[in-house]
């Protein structure tokens, strides 16, 4: 049975990629459940399957075998257009690099997910985006283009963008990999603050020891398997 507060649940999920005639296994039979409000880090060496796992949970990719439940819905059989709708309505994304649209201002970037979901008018969109920028402390830079902002500021904007739709889950693939440790730390502080204040579930991947320290639950991947899961530490 699917417990209501288990926002994500994976049952014996595998994912292989086909490269020519060879099947490359990226995830090998992972079973996992994540409670709503978690602040969870997926760590592991390069090639261990972190991005693949996040993509499976984020409805960006489908598993080769097994089931993925998101807020109780089995998603692996849904058509792509439905997956796009789920991504647009329930999920927020933060990527490692080239995160923001370079030709849009900070404000427009934060507004963009609301444009995609198309659920509100321009005025309301801008108001929300502005509030979100204030929350991450960058309200006075909202007119700037990404290349006029530092790496840390850009990732703050990305956090604001991921949260503006008030999604249930934010997925962040190595959000601090391109930042120095001080700036990276402050981004993680920000994410944890948002997690605590809003109750949003955060899943982020990293291979940085320092970053793992911020997590309240740590999953270690190796060769597509969970090597260690220290469960919820409160």
């Amino acid at each position: 049975m699917q417990r209501k507060d288990q926002i994500v649940k994976l049952e014996d999920v595998s994912k292989e990629y086909r490269v020519g005639r060879i099947a490359v296994p990226a995830i090998r039979g992972i079973t996992l459940s994540i409670d709503a409000g978690a602040f969870l880090s997926i760590a592991g060496p390069s090639g261990s399957g972190k991005t693949t796992l996040l993509n499976l949970i984020g409805c960006i990719d489908r598993p080769t075998a097994g089931s993925v439940y998101l807020e109780g819905t089995e998603i692996s059989a849904l058509p792509s257009s439905r997956l796009a709708e789920i991504r647009s309505s329930s999920l927020g994304f933060i990527f490692q690099t080239f995160n923001l649209v370079p030709v849009l201002s900070a404000l427009e970037n934060v507004e963009f997910p609301l444009v995609i979901s198309g659920t509100m008018g321009g005025r309301e969109r801008r108001r929300r985006a502005q509030e979100m920028l204030e929350e991450v402390g960058l309200a006075d830079l909202m007119g700037r283009r990404p290349n006029e902002l530092s790496g840390g500021q850009q990732q703050r904007i990305a956090v604001a963008r991921a949260l503006v739709k008030q999604p249930a889950i934010v997925l962040a693939d190595e959000p601090t990999a391109n930042l120095d440790s001080g700036t990276g730390g402050s981004i993680l502080e920000l994410m944890r603050e948002m997690n605590e204040r809003r109750g949003t579930t955060f899943l982020f991947s990293t291979h940085d020891r320092m970053v793992m320290e911020y997590a309240r639950r740590l999953i270690l991947l190796r060769d597509g398997r969970i090597e260690r899961d220290d469960g919820e530490v409160s």
Binding site: A84, F98, V103
Partner: protein, 413 residues
């Protein structure tokens, strides 16, 4: 479609300055050539038609059956009771004016040399209601009353080095087959720009012509000018039914039948021009395809990111098509401006090909100063054409971008 998407498309177009400028230049130069060529063709075509209608054919010609085949022979039948027909014609719809002429072949002679030409007996009172000869007298003056004089095309007179005041012999055949020689004074020279007229026509007062040929009270044709050239079909029908009602066995022919050769040539040249611009536009389109493909390739990761955020494939398609449209719009605006300015320059100043190439025949009944004709229709048409071509050229790149799989696009570096 969200205005944000339009804004995004605008900015994306100007993202890679160098590439956009090159693409943009190729579109705008292609479209400028299109505007200019079209303006020039239109100007030349319109002036040619005007020169044919004003000096040679009028809009409509009423003549006895079979006249057109026999025109330029001495045996052409004549129009009976033409003054009554003229009176009634003026009251018909679409008709602006009508006049009677006798047109026969003649030989012009200065005592030594002979040149064949076409002699027209013109009614000095009414000819100006239809033809515009009096406006293009280059030397001397136009015909006055029924004097024994004539007006000669400049080039024809030039063959004899004849000037106003000189006398030349006009040799014609009368109805009985007798050769008639009229010694007439050159009153003036007309320079119409239409070589058929300038090189091969002379004009004599109708009364003088009628007496010389024994055709008192007769004419070989009645020429009609309409209020608008576009009324030619309706005007012809009105006149034909009037003639039928009066029981007159006369034909009505349109100027397009009389100028068939010219129109066929013009159509051919327009087609050749169309093919040429087609090639130019195709080249520009290839440039657009290339630019858009490169843009979609460079932005693979960005598209992956947008699609991961839930942007639909259809929206990606629309975004790229919008970018194509923006490129076409700006290319069209610049091309229209450039081509329009060039056309306008020729409209005001003309291109003097006579000065450039000497006395050449470009196959059009016009003077050797080419004048373009700039119309709003051409500009708007070109702008739309630019946008449509650009959007079409973006279809494939846009389709490719929309087929991206987000997980793979995100891995793209």
């Amino acid at each position: 479609m969200s205005p944000v998407l339009v804004r995004l498309a605008f900015r994306n177009v100007f993202r890679n300055r160098k590439r956009s400028i090159i693409t943009f230049l190729s579109i705008s130069l292609g479209l400028a050539a299109l505007v200019f060529g079209q303006g020039l063709m239109l100007g030349i075509g319109n002036e040619s038609m005007k020169n044919i209608i004003d000096y040679q054919t009028a809009h409509l010609t009423i003549s006895p059956p079979g006249y057109l085949d026999m025109k330029e022979t001495s045996l052409s039948p004549s129009v009976p009771d033409y003054p009554e027909i003229l009176n009634s014609l003026e009251r018909l719809p679409h008709v602006e004016g009508a006049t009677a002429r006798i047109v026969v072949p003649a030989v012009l002679n200065d005592g030594m040399n002979d040149l064949p030409c076409l002699a027209s007996g013109v009614d000095v009172q009414t000819d100006g209601h239809v033809f515009r000869l009096a406006d293009v007298v280059a030397e001397g003056r136009y015909l006055q009353g029924q004097r024994l004089e004539m007006v000669v095309g400049t080039r024809l007179a030039g063959q004899f080095a004849a000037r106003p005041g000189d006398r030349l012999n006009v040799i014609m055949q009368d109805r009985g087959g007798e050769i008639e020689v009229q010694s007439l004074e050159v009153a003036g020279l007309v320079d119409t720009g239409n070589p058929t007229v300038d090189r091969g026509s002379l004009f004599i007062p109708l009364g003088v012509m009628q007496r010389a040929l024994g055709m008192e009270g007769q004419a070989t044709e009645v020429a009609v000018r309409l209020r608008r050239a576009s009324d030619v079909g309706a005007g012809r029908a009105a006149i034909a039914s009037f003639l039928a009602a009066e029981g007159l066995d006369l034909d009505v022919s349109e100027w397009t039948e009389l100028a068939g050769d010219f129109l066929r040539l013009h159509r051919l040249k327009k087609r050749a021009f169309g093919v040429m611009t087609g090639v130019i536009v195709l080249l520009a389109a290839v440039g657009i395809v290339n630019t858009m493909l490169m843009a979609s390739f460079e932005r693979t990761r960005e598209m992956g990111m947008m699609m991961a955020m839930g942007m639909k494939a259809r929206t990606v398609l629309i975004l790229f098509l919008l970018e194509g449209a923006v490129l076409g719009l700006f290319g069209g605006l610049a091309g229209g401006l450039l081509g329009g300015a060039a056309t306008y320059y020729t409209e005001v100043h003309g291109i003097d090909i006579g000065a450039m190439y000497g006395d050449i025949d470009i196959g059009y009944p016009i003077r050797d100063v080419l004048r373009g004709d700039l119309t709003v229709g051409t500009l708007i048409g070109t702008l739309c054409f630019g946008v449509v071509v650009s959007v079409l050229a973006s279809l494939y790149p846009a389709w490719r971008a929309s087929k991206l799989v987000p997980s793979e696009a995100l891995r793209h570096v």
